[in-house]
Symmetry: none
Subunit: 153 residues, 4 copies
């Protein structure tokens, strides 16, 4: 009887441990939905942008360049997504800090320009989106619209 | 009648001029069709890959990573596409040459592994595709299937 | 008569199709003319510079270093051309924004120093020019003179 | 008298010393002549190549990409010139060594493919030429023709 009880407790304990070892992640299906929402917003505004999405490991899962977008945005969109992911915050946060006088932050390997947003699920970061192509404020509008339309914000 | 004939000749002349100063290119719509065909082939084989497509200038226009694909393939898919674009030939051509004894070619900045194909239109290179994720022979099968399904091969 | 008219319409239709699928580009002959104009301006001012020209894909098509030019200008001229191409605007636009307080833009991989200009044809970007060697204002004067002398500005 | 003689000897000695502190170099005029010769040979063979020329410091002085040349040749032409300059020998020398079994040489940062030649004057290296675009043997033919036509070989 004692053994059974012990086994039962141990079983629960192991189960809890396993639960604690998983975390939410971003799959291509959801990344595609986010990108579609971003593209739809860009088209509705007649803007051309690059859409870049990273996953829960900070690795590129999807990139799309709309026709006519400036070539430099291929790299910038990825860099914005990288900064948003690596620091779990909108790239605008760094932009505002630097504009507000924290010029020393330009020595960090970050891209402090609006248009990058982290993607959270249940309080856990599962990826990020980076938009580049129009003004950085407009890039930010697209990024936000994409996450809101897909329930990630 | 003379006017119509003159107009017709003028039209041909302008057409020739435009032909001589313009060249074909790859847009997002066609890149998406190619990527969809690649993904469809990969799914049908139960393979997970990264699909990377460059445009007529060798610049990234689209990238997709299917769920479960090894992270290293993000870079490899792009490098295969880069080599195929930059040298206007399948990456397998370099793989075969090196395997055949041309070991000195490994000193060039190329990715000599099957899975990268140039994309031509009217004899002009308009981009390339790079696939990575399964064996390089399987990567090559996907790349070829994608171009054939979309009329680019 | 009907046949001629049909042919004419067909000609127009084909022409439109070709227009929609092709775009202008920069060849070595025109790049050479631009470089010659830049060099002529530099010589007339007794300035020594590096002249760098990229094509419609952002790839180097021509580079010349005039005797006595500082070695660092080899890279700077190319970087200015890269920034002008990638963002479809004069590098001076970024210089002015940063000088005007947009310090956060220094976190982008751009070269925000006057002397780089995009090259357009029919509203489409077909390349860029980057000049480096004298003061950035003088570099800019050469770049502008080169494009104006060749009808690209 | 003794003083005059001493002064004379001293003067000769100083003169010799000054002579020993200069060395031949490659200017843009001669680099252009070499490039023109290379291009003329390429045109006569109906080949498209990138021509790259480095100066006595190993720094790029001239680059030209002929229309239709594969984009990868922009980098390869410069790398061949770099290897030829840095090791004062034709890149083919390394290619032959590696083909002959010295595979370990592929671990060096060299480009061991024919088409790169050092440029000498009076036994001193004053630069190098790198050609890329056709087969490496054909690249080598152009490089050699260019130096022979201009008296540098």
């Amino acid at each position: 009887m004692k053994n059974i009880f012990t086994t039962l407790l141990l079983g629960i304990s192991l189960f809890t441990l396993v639960q604690a070892q998983t975390q939410p992640y971003l799959n291509l299906e959801n990344a595609t939905k986010i990108a579609d929402a971003a593209q739809e917003k860009a088209i509705s505004e007649n803007w051309n942008v690059v859409i870049s999405i990273l996953d829960q490991g900070g690795n590129l899962i999807l990139l799309r360049r709309m026709d006519g977008t400036q070539i430099g945005s291929i790299e910038i969109a990825q860099l914005k997504a990288k900064t948003a992911f690596e620091f779990k915050r909108p790239t605008k946060a760094f932009e505002d800090m630097i504009k507000g006088g924290a010029v020393h932050l330009t020595t960090m390997p970050i891209t402090a320009v609006e248009g990058g947003l982290p993607i959270f699920k249940d309080g856990i970061i599962i990826g990020s989106i980076g938009i580049s192509g129009v003004t950085s404020a407009q890039d930010g509008i697209i990024a936000e619209a994409a996450l809101k339309a897909t329930g990630f914000m």
